[in-house]
Amino acid sequence: MNPQAIGKPLTRIDGRAKVTGAARYAAEFNQPNQAYAVIVSSTIGLGRITGIDPAAEHLPGVLAIISHLNAPRLPYNPHKGGIDPSYGERLHVLQDDQVRFYGQPVALVVADTLVRAERAAAALRITYDAQHPIVGPRDKQAKPIAPEADGRLEADNVRGDPEAALASAAVAVDITSDIARQNHHPMEPHATIAAWDGDRLTLWSKSQFVANEQEEIAAVFGMAPENVQVICPFVGGAFGTSLRTWPHVTLAALAARQVGRPVKLALTRRQMSFTTGHRPRTLQRMALGATRDGRLTSIIHEGTGETSRYEQFIESLTSGTDFMYSCPNVRTRYRLVPLDTGTPTYMRGPGEASGMYALETALDELAYKLGIDPIELRRRNEPRIDESTNRPFSSRSLMACYDIGAERFGWAKRTPEPQSMRDGRLLIGMGTATATYPAMQFPASARARLLADGTAEIESAASDMGPGTYTSMTQVAADTLGIPVGRVRFSLGNSDFPPAPPHGGSQTMAAVGSAIRAACLAVQDLLVERAAANPRSPAHNMGKEALEWVDGHLRRKGGAASGQSYAEIVGAAGGVPVEATVSVARDPEIDNKYSMHAFGAVFVEVSVDPDVGIARVRRALGAYGAGRIVNPRLARSQCLGGMIGGIGMALMEHTSLDARDGRPVNAHMAEYLLPVNLDIPDLDVLFVDEVDPHVNPLGVKGLGEVSLVGMAPAIANAVFHATGRRIHELPIRIEHLLGV
C-alpha cells in the first residue's frame, strides 16, 4: 500500500451535507401517514402502578394509549449483545405494574400529530403505590456487592503484598474520591421512526450499533433478524448512549404495530436523563506507598460504581491501575452498588475516565509529599512491561508524550509551590496527568465492490457519530485500492450491510478499517482471477505471485507497462460488478502476546478567582501516542472534543437526583451544565509519531476515549497547584473553592 490518502488532513466527506442541512438524522425520515408517540414517564422512583384513567383516550387525535394494562405480552427472547451487561435482564417495558426507577416508561400515547399526543400524555392520570427508592451509593441502605464474574474483568486483582508494603512505606498517601453521575446528553435526542410492512419492520433509529439493534428488536418481538432493518446514516453525537437498544425503540415498534401506521417517537431532553444510561457515580479509595526517592512500593485501588437493581453494569474502573506504573505490590478491587435507578452505560472513556482520576490525583499528591516534579515521578515509575500480565506493550509512548507536551506547554515555567503563580488577582495553577485507554478491536466485516466505471463502493454496518468514519474509511479504501478518494463511495449505518461492532471503545478505525482493507484486498484477488481467465488480458494465465497492483492498475511484477485499470478488468468481464465481503478479527495470538493501549499526557492551566471561587481552564494541551493517525485534521478535532468532555466532567457535569424519589433535578440543558463556547480556551493537540507494528495491520489505536481520560485529574491537580486545596469530588464547584 502506497499511502496517498492515509495520513492526509482531508476535509470531512460528509461535511457538505452537514453544513447545508442536507444530512438526515433518525428523526428526519418522516413516513407517509406517520403517527407520533409520546412516552409517559413514571413520577415515582419505586413501587407499582395502581390505576390509569382512560379518559385521555377520548381526546382529539388519540389513536392509542398503551400501558401494561393493554400491551401485548412481548416474547423478550434472550439476547445479549456485547454491549449489554452480562448479568441481569433488560427492562421489559409495559409488561407489568412494577416501577423500578423514576422516569421508567409507564405508558405510551399515540396520536395523529405530536401536539395531540403531547396534550393527551399531559392529561393522562396515573396513580401509584409509591415506595422509597435508594438512589445514592452513600445512602445507608445501599449495599455494595461483588459483581458476578463476567469474564471481561476481574473484580479483585492482587500481586505482592500491598497492605504490608503500604504500612511500611517511607511515604504514603491515602485518598478517597467521589465522582458525580453524568449523562451523555448528545445534542441529538434519541429518536426512532418505526414502520411495519406485513411482518417486516424498518427502524430509522439513532444507533451506534445497528447490527445489535436489529438483533435486539428481533429478540424482543420474537422475529427473525432478517425481518428487521435498522437505518441510521448520521448520529448526532452519542458518546455511548446509543450503543444499547433502549426501551423507546421497542415502544416505537410496538406503537406502530398497534395503530397500523408508521410511528415517530423522540425522547425529550428530560427523558434523556433517566432511560438511556449514564456514567455511574463512583466512590474510590486510592492508597500509594513509595520510597523517599519516589519508587512506588504499593498501590491499593478500591472502586465502587452504581448499577441498577435489574442489571449489573460493569466498567473498567480499576483496570488502568493494574498496569500503569511499575510497582511490585498492587491490589485493585471493584464493587457495585445496586440502586433503584436505570442501568448505567458506557460513557466516553468508560471506567478509565473515573479510575485514572483517582490514580493521577493521588500521584500528584505523592509528588508534593516527596518534593519531586510530577512528570519526573511518573518517569521513575515507568514500567518496562505490563506488570499485571507480564506482557510487553505493543507500543507505549507515554514518556515521549510528556516530553513533547511539557516542551510545548511550557511546563518548565511552572513554580511547584501551591499558590505561587498569579495573574493579577487570579490564582494560576498548572497540572498534568496521564491518559490511557485500551486499543480494542472486535470482529468486523465489510464489502468492497468494484464497478465497471472503475469506482468502488464500500459497505459496512458501522456508524459515524462525528469522529469522521465516512472520511477515514474512504481514505483506507482508496489507499488499499490505489485510487483517489473521489472514486470511493463508503456507506454505513444500515443493518443490511455486513455487520460491524459497536461504534464505541475507540475501535471503529481498528476494527472497521481493518475489515475494509481486507475486503479491498479480497476484491483485488478476485479481479486478478478475472484478468487471468481472460485470453485478451496481458495477465492471462498468470498467477497472483507474478502480478502486482500499482496505483489502481494490475501489471506484471516490476513491469514497465502501466497495466490494466479496474474499469478495464471489470469491463472486459462484461461490466458485472465484482464484490467481496470479508470478516476480520484480531489474531488471538496478538492479544496473548501484547498489552495494547493508547497513552497520553495532558497539561492544563487553570485560573481560580479567590473572591468567588470560580475555576476556569485557561489553556490545555493533550499529547497522545495512539499509533498511526489516519486523518490529522479530524483526529485533532476529535481529541479537542474529548478534552472538553473532560473539562465538563471536572468542573460542570452532574446529574443530581432528589434522594426522596430519584427525580433528576437538573434534567434540562439550562441546569445540566456543559462547557459552552465561552468556557473553552486555547486547546492544543499533539501526536507522537508512533509506529505500532503489532496492534493491527493499520497500526491504529483509537482516540475517542483516551482524549477525555486524564483531563479531569489534570484539572484537579492544577486547581491544587493554584489554591493548595485538594478537591476529591467532581465536579469541582464554587463551594469547594470559597475562601481559598
Binding site: T11, R12, D14, G15, R16, A17, K18, V19, T20, G21, A22, A23, R24, Y25, A27, E28, N30, T113, L114, V115, R116, E118, H185, P186, M187, E188, P189, F234, V235, G236, G237, F239, A266, T268, R269, M465, G466, P467, G468, L634, R636, S637, Q638, C639, L640, G641, M643, I644, G645, H668, M669, A670, L674, P675, V676, N677, L678, I680, P681, D682
Partner: protein, 158 residues
C-alpha cells in the same frame, strides 16, 4: 380544533402550511415543510440547535409558534448556500473541521451569520459570547470560533 393556515416566506420563497395552535415554528419547518436543517436539541431555548432568522432577527424556533411566522420572513440553513456555492462560513467550517456529528452545525452557522450581519469585524470574545448559547458536545468549540473569525476576515475582504 381547526388548523391554522399560515402564509409566510422561507428562504425567499413564498410558502403555506397548516399548523396547530401549539405547534412550534421548528416543528412546522421540520414536519410540515420538510426543512430538517434546524434541529431540536432541547425545545426549551437552551441549546441553539433550532436557530433561524425571523425577519432578520436570530430566534430559537422551538420558542416561536408556527402561527407567528404569518406574513414574516424566515431564513434557515437551507437558504445559506447559493446553489452549489457554499457561504464563506460553511466553507470555513469545513476547512477548520469545526463540525463533527453536525447536529449543532446548522444552528451555529445561522447564528454566526446573524452576528456577522450585525458586526462584520467581531473580536474573538464577541464571537464566543454570541455563540455561547449554541451548545456543541463534540467539537471542542475552539475551531468554531476560528472558523467564524476566518470567514469574517474573508467576507470583509481582509
Amino acid at each position: 380544533m381547526a388548523k391554522h393556515h399560515v402564509t409566510t416566506t422561507v428562504n425567499g420563497d413564498p410558502v403555506e402550511y397548516l399548523c396547530e395552535s401549539e405547534q412550534t415554528l421548528l416543528d412546522c419547518l421540520r414536519d410540515e415543510l420538510d426543512l430538517v436543517g434546524a434541529k431540536e436539541g432541547c425545545s426549551s431555548g437552551d441549546c441553539g440547535a433550532c436557530s433561524v432568522l425571523l425577519d432578520g432577527r436570530l430566534v430559537c424556533s422551538c420558542l416561536v409558534l408556527g402561527v407567528e411566522a404569518e406574513g414574516r420572513s424566515v431564513e434557515t440553513i437551507e437558504g445559506m448556500a447559493q446553489g452549489d456555492e457554499l457561504h464563506p462560513l460553511q466553507r470555513k467550517f469545513l476547512e477548520h473541521a469545526a463540525l463533527q456529528c453536525g447536529i449543532c452545525t446548522p444552528g451555529i452557522l445561522v447564528a454566526a451569520k446573524a452576528l456577522l450581519a450585525k458586526n462584520p469585524d467581531p473580536t474573538e470574545t464577541q464571537v464566543r459570547y454570541w455563540l455561547a448559547g449554541n451548545l456543541c458536545r463534540c467539537t471542542g468549540y475552539d475551531k468554531i470560533v476560528r472558523a467564524v473569525m476566518d470567514a469574517a476576515a474573508e467576507m470583509r475582504g481582509a
